[in-house]
C-alpha cells in the first residue's frame, strides 16, 4: 500500500501527533509507514509497540503498519527492535482513523548489522533435483513457498518443512502466483512457479508483498496458496555492495554472489547489478554435479511522478539429477542416496540425466503516481530460451538402466512363472560384490554402438540413397522446451478515501513453446534414425507406420538434430482482476474477482506414422473461460486479538498436458476438456501481543473436475507400449489446521511451535481411459477407479516443529528446531484400485489388501540448528567505514544424520495383471538428505 499523508514527521527523541481529543472509551485505527532515514527505503520488519496497551506489530515489506482499537487519548508508541534506534512517539488519538504518515527511523548504532539477522538464508531449496519422467509421475515435490515472511507459520513451512517435501495445504506448486515487477512468472503451461528462474540472485529478489492462503494481495488476485510479488527494480534495491560466499553440501558445494546497487541517486537514476555462480562437482546425491551462473541488471529513472525501470535476469544452469528408486535398489546399493543415473566413463562419473536451463527475462515497467492516492504500473516482459532434460534413448537395445527391474533379484521371485529364490540370491550376491553394476555402464553403450553396422535404405526419403555406418543403439537425447513468452500487464491502485482502496488490472500473455527431442550425444556411433521403435515392433514390415515423421522418412539424425517428436503449443491468455479493500477500526474486509480466457492450440511439425491424420499441422484452439471470486473479513476483537474468514471459488483451465492425450504424437484431446473448479474457505484466530504471536487457522477446499494424464511405458507383455492414463472428473478435498505460536519467554529467548495437520484426499471414483500410443485403431480401455478417500500424495500431512531461538544483544542468534513428520502417503496408482486389479482375489484377503492398501511412509524425526551473527568491522579496524559489515549465517539440518527420512514415494503405474503381484513393479521412494549444512559469509559495504 502506498498510502501517504502529506505530513511527514521528523522524529527526534519524542514526537507528538495532535488530534482533537474527545472520549477515552472510543478506539481508533492507527496507521502509518516507517522508512529508513539514511537509505530512504521502507523500513520493513521493524517492531512497533504500544507498551501501555501491550499491542505489538511489525512493519510489512513496505514499512506499513496498522493498529486497530487504540483507545482515544494520548498514547506512547515505541519503535524499536533489532534494526533501528529505539524511539518513542507520542500520539494523541482523537478520531476513528489516525494516519501518522511517514515516520523516519534511524538505523541503530549497529542497525545495519542487525538487519542482517533477519535475512533468512535461502540456499539450496531451489528445485527438485530429481526426475521421475520414466515413471510418469509428476515431480510436484517441492513446496512452492520459498520466501521469507513475517508470519511464523509461513516461515516455518518454507524453511523447516520445505526440506521434507511439505506441500502447504496439500496443494500443487501452481497454487501460488508469483510476479516480478508486475510480470506473472508462473509457467504458462503448468502454472508452477519455479524459483530456478532467478536462482542465485537472492540479493536482488526480495519479496515486496507475500501473502499466504486467501489473504488479499496488493498486486494480483492470487492463487489458493497466495502470492509473492518480487520488486526487482533498480530503484528499490538497497544501496550496497555485497559479496557472499556460501559453502554447503546440498545440491551444490559453493556459491559466490556479487551485488552492487547504487540506490536511487540524486539525478533520479538507479542501477543494480548482481552476478553469481553456484557449483559442485558432486552434490549430496552421488553423480549430481551443479554448474550454474546467474546475472541480474536493472536500471531505473525516476522523473517527477514517473518511474521507468528496465530489468533483465537469467540463470544458465546445468545440473545432474537424481531419481527415485525402489527400496530393493537402495538396499542393494547400501545407501538411501543411490542414484542409478550415473556411471563411470573414462574414470569419471557421468550423469545421463542432466537439466540444462536458460530462460532469461527482460522486463520494462513504467510506474506512474499522479498522486499519493494512485499508483499505475504497466509492465512489458519478454522471456525466451530453452529448458533441456537429457535422458538415454535406445533403439532395439537392452534397457541400459542399472536398476531396470529385470536386473534386480526380486525379478527372479516375482517376475518368473516359477519363482527361483536361488537365482535371486545369486543376482543379489553379484550386485553386492560389484557395486559398479548398480551404475550405468557407459562403456557397454559405446561398445554396442561401435559394432552395430547397418545400411539404411532410402535414407532421408531419397529413393536409392543408402547410408551405411555405425547406427546408434544408444544415444543421449534431450527433451527440449523452447519458449518465447510475451507479457503485457497494467495494474492500477487507487485509494478512494482513508478506508477504501480499489485495485484493478489486466494481463495478456502469449507464448509459443516448441517441444522436441534432439540427439545430444551419439555415444561413438555415426548416426541415429528417426524411427519409432515401438511401432516397428508392433507393425513389422510397415515402413510407413514406424516413421516419426512421414514428411521426412528414414531420416538420418546426428548430434543437435531434432527427432522423435516436434510440435509447437501456442498459448494465449488474458484476464482482468479487481479488488476492493476496506479498512475500519473494528473490521477489515475485501472482495475480489477475476475473469478471463485461457486458450491454447497445438501445431504438429511431424506427421507421425501411427497418426498421419491427426499429428501434423495446426489443430483447433482449446479455449476456456476462467474466473474467480474471493472475499474475506477480519474482525478485530481488540488490538491484539483478531478473527478472520476468507473464501474463494472459481474455475481454472486444464493444462495442455492434461488436455491432449499425447501431444508428442497427436493432436487428439480428451473427451470434453473442462475447467477445474475449486471452492475454498479459511478462517482463524490471530494473536499479536508483545510477548506472544500466535495463529490458528482452519481451511477446507474442494477441487472438482480435475483432469490428470499420466504417461509411462508399460512393458506388460500384453501391452508393450507407451500408455496414457487419462483420469477425468477427479475430485479431491483438502481440510486441516495450521497452528503457530511464537512466545518470547525472556527478552532474548523465543520458543516457537508450529503444526500443520491436514487431510488431502480424493472424494469420488473417477474414470480412467487408457490410450495406447501404439494403437491407432481401438477405443481406450476404461476403468472405474475406486479412489474415494485415498490420500492425495501431498507430502507429510502431519508436520510439527518445536524450536527455540536465542537472540543475543551482541548481534548473534542461534536456533534449534525439533521436527516431526508423519502421515506421508505414497501416490496411489489408479490402476490398482480397479475391479480388474483385484479380479480373482478374495475380498478382505491379505492379497486383496496388499493390492488396495495405500502405504503410509514411516514418520521421521529431525533436528536442525542455525546460527547467525553480524560484525561491524569498524570495531576492529577503525579505517574501515561503519557501513562495512560481515555477516555469517550457518545452519545444520538433520543434525542427527537421520538417513531414513522417506520424503515421498509413488506406486508404479504399471501393474502385473497376470499374477496381481505388487512386488513385480514395486513402489519407488525419495529420501531426504542426511546431515547437511550451509555457511554463508557475506561482506557488505
Amino acid at each position: 500500500m502506498k498510502l501517504k499523508l502529506p505530513a511527514v514527521l521528523l522524529l527526534a527523541a519524542t514526537q507528538t501527533v495532535v488530534a482533537s481529543a474527545q472520549n477515552n472509551r472510543q478506539t481508533s485505527l492507527v496507521k502509518g509507514r516507517l522508512f529508513n532515514k539514511i537509505t530512504k527505503q521502507p523500513a520493513n520488519d521493524v517492531q512497533i509497540i504500544f507498551p501501555g496497551l501491550k499491542l505489538l506489530t511489525i512493519t510489512d515489506g513496505e514499512g506499513n503498519f496498522n493498529f486497530s482499537q487504540v483507545p482515544y487519548g494520548t498514547q506512547k508508541m515505541v519503535v524499536g527492535g533489532n534494526t533501528v534506534k529505539a524511539d518513542t512517539i507520542t500520539i494523541v488519538i482523537s478520531k476513528d482513523l489516525v494516519d501518522v504518515g511517514d515516520i523516519q527511523v534511524t538505523p541503530s548504532e549497529n542497525g545495519l548489522v542487525a538487519t542482517q539477522l533477519t535475512q533468512i538464508p535461502t540456499i539450496a531449496i531451489e528445485d527438485a533435483n530429481v526426475s521421475v519422467d520414466d515413471d510418469g509421475v509428476k515431480g510436484s515435490a517441492v513446496s512452492g513457498l520459498l520466501t521469507a515472511s513475517r508470519d511464523p507459520f509461513v516461515n516455518t513451512a518454507s524453511f523447516t518443512f520445505g526440506q521434507y517435501r511439505f506441500q502447504a495445504r496439500g496443494y500443487d506448486r501452481n497454487a501460488q502466483q508469483v510476479l516480478v515487477n508486475g510480470m506473472p512468472m508462473n509457467d504458462v503451461e503448468t502454472g508452477d512457479a519455479s524459483w530456478n528462474q532467478w536462482g542465485g540472485l537472492n540479493d536482488a529478489f526480495r519479496a515486496r508483498n507475500n501473502t499466504y492462503g486467501l489473504t488479499p494481495s496488493d498486486y494480483t488476485f492470487g492463487g489458493m496458496n497466495g502470492s509473492v510479488y518480487f520488486d526487482a527494480t533498480a530503484a528499490n534495491q538497497r544501496k550496497q555492495t555485497r559479496i557472499t560466499y556460501s559453502a554447503t553440501n546440498r545440491q551444490y558445494k559453493n556459491r559466490l554472489m556479487l551485488t552492487h546497487s547504487s540506490g536511487l541517486m540524486k539525478n533520479g537514476w538507479a542501477y543494480s547489478l548482481s552476478v553469481s555462480k553456484r557449483w559442485a562437482n558432486e552434490g549430496y546425491i552421488p553423480g549430481t554435479f551443479y554448474d550454474a551462473y546467474s546475472y541480474y541488471a536493472g536500471v531505473s529513472k525516476v522523473w517527477k511522478k514517473h518511474q521507468f525501470n528496465l530489468t533483465t535476469f537469467g540463470a544458465p544452469t546445468r545440473r545432474g539429477k537424481g531419481t527415485a528408486a525402489t527400496q530393493e535398489a537402495y538396499d542393494l546399493a547400501g545407501s538411501h542416496f543411490y542414484n542409478p543415473n550415473w556411471g563411470y566413463q573414462n574414470g569419471e562419473k557421468r550423469n545421463a540425466k542432466v537439466n540444462e536451463y536458460f530462460q532469461p527475462v527482460v522486463i520494462a515497467n513504467y510506474e506512474y503516481k499522479p498522486s499519493d492516492k494512485t499508483d499505475w504500473n504497466t509492465t512489458i516482459g519478454y522471456q525466451f530460451g530453452k529448458n533441456k532434460n537429457s535422458t538415454l534413448d535406445w533403439y532395439n537395445a537392452q534397457d541400459p538402466r542399472p536398476d531396470y527391474y529385470k536386473n534386480m533379484p526380486s525379478y527372479y521371485v516375482n517376475g518368473l512363472t516359477n519363482p527361483s529364490p536361488d537365482l535371486a540370491d545369486q543376482v543379489r550376491a553379484q550386485l553386492e560384490a560389484n557395486p559398479s553394476q548398480m551404475q550405468l555402464d557407459w562403456n557397454k553403450l559405446y561398445d554396442a554402438n561401435s559394432v552395430n553396422y547397418e545400411t539404411i535404405h532410402n535414407a532421408n526419403g531419397i529413393a536409392g540413397n543408402d547410408v551405411y555406418g555405425r547406427r546408434a543403439m544408444y544415444i543421449v537425447a534431450n527433451d527440449v522446451d523452447d519458449i518465447k513468452k510475451f507479457n503485457f500487464s497494467s495494474n492500477l491502485t487507487h485509494s478512494l478515501n482513508e478506508h477504501i482502496i480499489l485495485y484493478t488490472g489486466i494481463t495478456f500473455i502469449t507464448q509459443r513453446t516448441e517441444s522436441y527431442k534432439e540427439v545430444a550425444d551419439l555415444l561413438g556411433a555415426d548416426f541415429y534414425v528417426n524411427y519409432n521403435q515401438f511401432a516397428s515392433r508392433d507393425y513389422p514390415g510397415k515402413a510407413d507406420v514406424y516413421q516419426n515423421d512421414l514428411n521426412n522418412p528414414n531420416r538420418i539424425v546426428k548430434e543437435g538434430d531434432k527427432y522423435s517428436y516436434d510440435y509447437i503449443t501456442h498459448f494465449n491468455k488474458g484476464w482482468w482482476w479487481g479488488q476492493a479493500a476496506f479498512t475500519y477500526n473494528k473490521f477489515d474486509f475485501f472482495v475480489a474477482a477475476n475473469a478471463g480466457i485461457n486458450s491454447f492450440s497445438r501445431e504438429g511439425l511431424y506427421r507421425n506414422g501411427l497418426f498421419p491424420n491427426t499429428s501434423y499441422g495446426k489443430g483447433a484452439t482449446e479455449s476456456f473461460f476462467i474466473y474467480g471470486l474471493k472475499g474475506g473479513a477480519t474482525y478485530k476483537i481488540n488490538g491484539r486479538n483478531y478473527l478472520f474468514v476468507n473464501a474463494s471459488a472459481g474455475a481454472d483451465a486444464p493444462t495442455v498436458d492434461n488436455t491432449y492425450i499425447s501431444p508428442r504424437t497427436r493432436g487428439n484431446v480428451v473427451d470434453n476438456p473442462t475447467t477445474q473448479k475449486y471452492q475454498t474457505v479459511e478462517g482463524g484466530y490471530l494473536l499479536k501481543a508483545p510477548n506472544i504471536n500466535a495463529r490458528v487457522v482452519g481451511y477446507a477446499t474442494d477441487i472438482k473436475d480435475a483432469t490428470d494424464i499420466q504417461r509411462f511405458y508399460n512393458d506388460d507383455p500384453n501391452v508393450q507400449s507407451f500408455v496414457n492414463f487419462v483420469s477425468q472428473h477427479v475430485n479431491s478435498r483438502y481440510v486441516g489446521t495450521e497452528l503457530a505460536v511464537d512466545v518470547k519467554v525472556m527478552p532474548t529467548l523465543n520458543l516457537i511451535g508450529v503444526a500443520a495437520v491436514g487431510q488431502a484426499f480424493y472424494t469420488n471414483r473417477p474414470t480412467i481411459s487408457s490410450y495406447k500410443d501404439n494403437d491407432t485403431t481401438s477405443n481406450p480401455t476404461t476403468y472405474t477407479v475406486y479412489n474415494k478417500n485415498y490420500y492425495v500424495a501431498a507430502g507429510p500431512q502431519s508436520s510439527y516443529t518445536a524450536g527455540a531461538r536465542y537472540n543475543s544483544k551482541k548481534y548473534w542468534w542461534a536456533g534449534i528446531n525439533f521436527n516431526y513428520f508423519d502421515r506421508n502417503y505414497v501416490a496411489a496408482a489408479p490402476i490398482r484400485r480397479t475391479v480388474d486389479a483385484v479380479d480373482g482375489l478374495v475380498p478382505g484377503s491379505p492379497e486383496w489388501n496388499e493390492v488396495l492398501n495405500q502405504e503410509k511412509l514411516p514418520s521421521a524425526f529431525t533436528v536442525d540448528l542455525s546460527f547467525g551473527t553480524s560484525i561491524m568491522l569498524h570495531k576492529w579496524l577503525k579505517q574501515i567505514p561503519r557501513s562495512t559489515i560481515l555477516s555469517i549465517n550457518a545452519g545444520v539440518s538433520n543434525l542427527l544424520d537421520n538417513q531414513d527420512v522417506v520424503t515421498g514415494g509413488f506406486e508404479q503405474l504399471r501393474f502385473d495383471f497376470t499374477n496381481g503381484n505388487i512386488g513385480k513393479f514395486p513402489s519407488k521412494y525419495f529420501y531426504g538428505f542426511g546431515r547437511n549444512y550451509f555457511v554463508n559469509v557475506s561482506l557488505r559495504f
Binding site: 554435479f289 537395445a397 543376482v427 553379484q430 515392433r537 513389422p540
Partner: protein
C-alpha cells in the same frame, strides 16, 4: 565508484575459475578390437557330452571356452538366446535379456565361463543356461551374463557348413548350415515367413529340394521379417539347425540368409491339359509323367456338397478331374474360383465310383487365388447322359428342368428337363440340404459326377439354381 570497481575486480577473478565443473566427456576408445586372450579350457563338445539324458546337469568344470557367435537376436527371430560355435560343436546360450546383439553380435568372439552353468535340453536341442527352482532351463540372469559370457574381439568370419537335405544329422544341431538348391514348397508360396505374433508365436514353413526332401523352417511371430513373403525362387538358405521334439527345424538369423533367386524345381516341366491327362488312363492306375496342369477350382468347399478331401478342377480343355488329397497335413483349402497350378509329376490317376481321380498333394499345388468363373456347358440331359464320361467333373447347366417329389434338396432327387432325367444328389451335410426344392421349372447348374449306381449332378450352392 571505487567500491564498484572493487566489486567488478572480484567478480572477474571469481568467474574466471569456470573450469571447476567439467562439461564434456571423452568417448572411450573403440574396444571392439580388444581381445582379453583368456586362457581357454574345455569345449562345447565336452559340455555337450555331460548331458546323458534330457534332465539339465551342472557343468562343474571351471572351463573357459572360446567360441564365436553364429546367430544373434537382431531380427527378433531368436529371443533371449544366441548361438555360438567353438569348432567342436554349436550351442544355444540362454541369456535372460533382450537385444543381446548389442553385446554379442554375429562374429563376436566370446569366452564362456562355465562354472555355475547348466547344460540341458529343450525339445531335444542342447542348451547352456541356468535352472529355475523346478529344474527347468532358464537364461543366465542379466546381472550375471557379464561374468559368464566375456566379450572378445569383433568381427570373426562366420562360415556355415554346406550340407544337403539328405545329410542332416544330430551332429549338426546348433550349427550354422547352408543348403543349396532348395525352394519353399509350392503350398507356402504367397505366404509370409510367419503369422503375426497375435495369431501364433511361431510358424512352420517347408523348404524342399527338387527330389522332394524337406526341412521345416521355423520362424517367430516376433521376427521383424515375419510379414515378408517367402521368395518363390530356388537357391540357398542358411540357418541354425535345430530340432523340436523330433522334427528338424531350420532357424533363420534374418532374410539375408535366404538367397533363392533361381528358377524353381520343375520350371521346365511342360503343361498338359486335363484332356491329355485323362487319356493316360487306360483302364489301370496310371503314374503321371513330368507335367503340370493349370486349372480352376469348380467345387465349393464352403457349402459342403463336395467331400472335404476332394477338389474338383476344370481347365481350358473343358475337361475336369477330381483331385483327392489324403493323409494328415494334406488337407486342401482351395476355394471355388481359385486358379491352381498342380505339378502332377509322379501322381497316380485312378478311378473312383467310375470317375477319374488324381491322388494329389498340397505341396505340389501353387494357388494363385483369384475369383475365376468357369462358364458351365449348357446341355440337355439326353446329350449329357449320352457322353457322361466325357463331361465328368465339369460344370454343366440344365435349362427348364424340374425336380420331382418336392421336399428338400437332401438326398437323391430326380431332375427332368423333358429330354431325359438324372439324379440330383445333395449330401445331408451340405449347407443348403434342408432348403426346399423349387416346384417350377428352373435352370440347374452342377458338377457332372459319375457314380456306380447312376450318374449324378451335384449342385455346389443355391446360386446354381435360378
Amino acid at each position: 565508484m571505487k567500491r564498484f570497481q572493487l566489486a567488478l575486480c572480484v567478480l572477474v577473478s571469481a568467474l574466471s575459475f569456470t573450469s571447476c565443473v567439467k562439461k564434456n566427456f571423452d568417448a572411450p576408445p573403440d574396444s571392439s578390437n580388444y581381445d582379453p586372450n583368456l586362457p581357454t579350457s574345455g569345449s562345447l563338445a565336452k559340455a555337450r557330452a555331460l548331458l546323458a539324458g534330457t534332465v539339465a546337469v551342472p557343468i562343474d568344470s571351471d572351463w573357459t571356452i572360446s567360441a564365436t557367435v553364429i546367430a544373434d537376436d537382431r531380427s527378433g527371430n531368436l529371443y533371449k538366446q544366441i548361438v555360438v560355435d567353438d569348432g567342436t560343436t554349436g550351442m544355444t546360450l540362454l541369456l535372460e535379456a533382450n537385444n543381446l546383439y548389442g553385446n554379442y553380435p554375429v562374429g563376436r568372439k566370446i569366452y564362456l565361463k562355465t562354472k555355475g552353468l547348466y547344460i540341458g535340453m529343450y525339445g531335444g536341442l542342447p542348451q547352456i543356461g541356468m535352472i529355475d527352482e523346478t529344474g527347468s532351463m532358464i537364461g543366465i540372469p542379466s546381472t550375471l551374463i557379464g561374468g559368464h559370457v566375456i566379450k572378445g574381439d569383433f568381427p570373426h568370419p562366420v562360415i556355415p557348413d554346406t550340407v544337403s537335405l539328405n545329410d542332416l544329422n544330430d551332429g549338426l544341431l546348433n550349427r550354422l548350415i547352408y543348403i543349396k538348391d532348395v525352394e519353399f514348397a509350392g503350398s507356402n508360396l504367397g505366404m509370409s515367413y510367419a503369422q503375426p505374433s497375435a495369431i501364433a508365436s511361431g510358424t512352420s514353413r517347408t523348404v524342399e529340394d527338387c527330389a522332394g526332401n524337406t526341412i521345416t523352417l521355423r520362424t517367430s511371430g516376433y521376427a521383424n521379417f515375419q510379414p515378408y513373403i517367402v521368395p518363390s525362387g530356388k537357391g540357398g538358405i542358411a540357418g541354425i539347425y535345430t530340432t523340436y521334439n523330433g522334427t528338424p527345424q531350420l532357424i533363420l538369423r534374418d532374410t539375408t540368409d535366404v538367397t533363392m533367386y533361381g528358377e524353381r524345381c520343375g520350371a521346365n516341366t511342360p503343361f498338359i491339359t486335363i484332356d491329355s491327362m485323362q487319356k493316360m488312363y487306360t483302364g489301370a492306375d496310371a503314374v503321371m509323367p513330368t507335367a503340370k496342369i493349370s486349372c480352376i477350382v469348380i467345387s465349393d468347399r464352403a457349402n459342403g456338397n463336395t467331400t472335404a478331401s476332394n477338389v474338383i478342377v476344370q481347365d481350358a480343355s473343358g475337361r475336369g478331374v477330381v483331385m483327392y488329397f489324403s493323409g494328415s497335413g494334406n488337407t486342401p483349402t482351395y476355394d471355388m474360383g481359385d486358379s491352381l497350378v498342380v505339378d502332377i509329376t509322379a501322381m497316380t490317376l485312378t478311378t473312383y465310383q467310375g470317375g477319374l481321380e488324381l491322388k494329389a498333394n498340397t505341396s505340389k499345388v501353387v494357388n494363385y487365388k483369384g475369383n475365376h468363373a468357369v462358364t458351365p456347358l449348357s446341355i440337355s440331359l439326353d446329350d449329357l447322359n449320352a457322353s457322361f464320361i466325357t463331361y465328368q467333373s465339369t460344370l454343366v447347366e440344365i435349362k427348364n428342368a424340374t425336380v420331382s417329389g418336392g421336399g428338400t434338396y437332401s438326398g437323391n432327387k430326380t431332375l427332368n428337363d423333358g429330354t431325359s432325367t438324372i439324379s440330383l444328389y445333395t449330401t445331408s451335410a451340405a449347407g443348403f440340404a434342408s432348403q426346399p426344392v423349387p416346384t417350377t421349372p428352373m435352370t440347374y447348374r452342377g458338377i457332372a459326377t459319375p457314380y456306380t449306381n447312376g450318374n449324378e449332378i451335384k449342385l455346389r450352392n443355391l446360386n446354381d439354381v435360378y
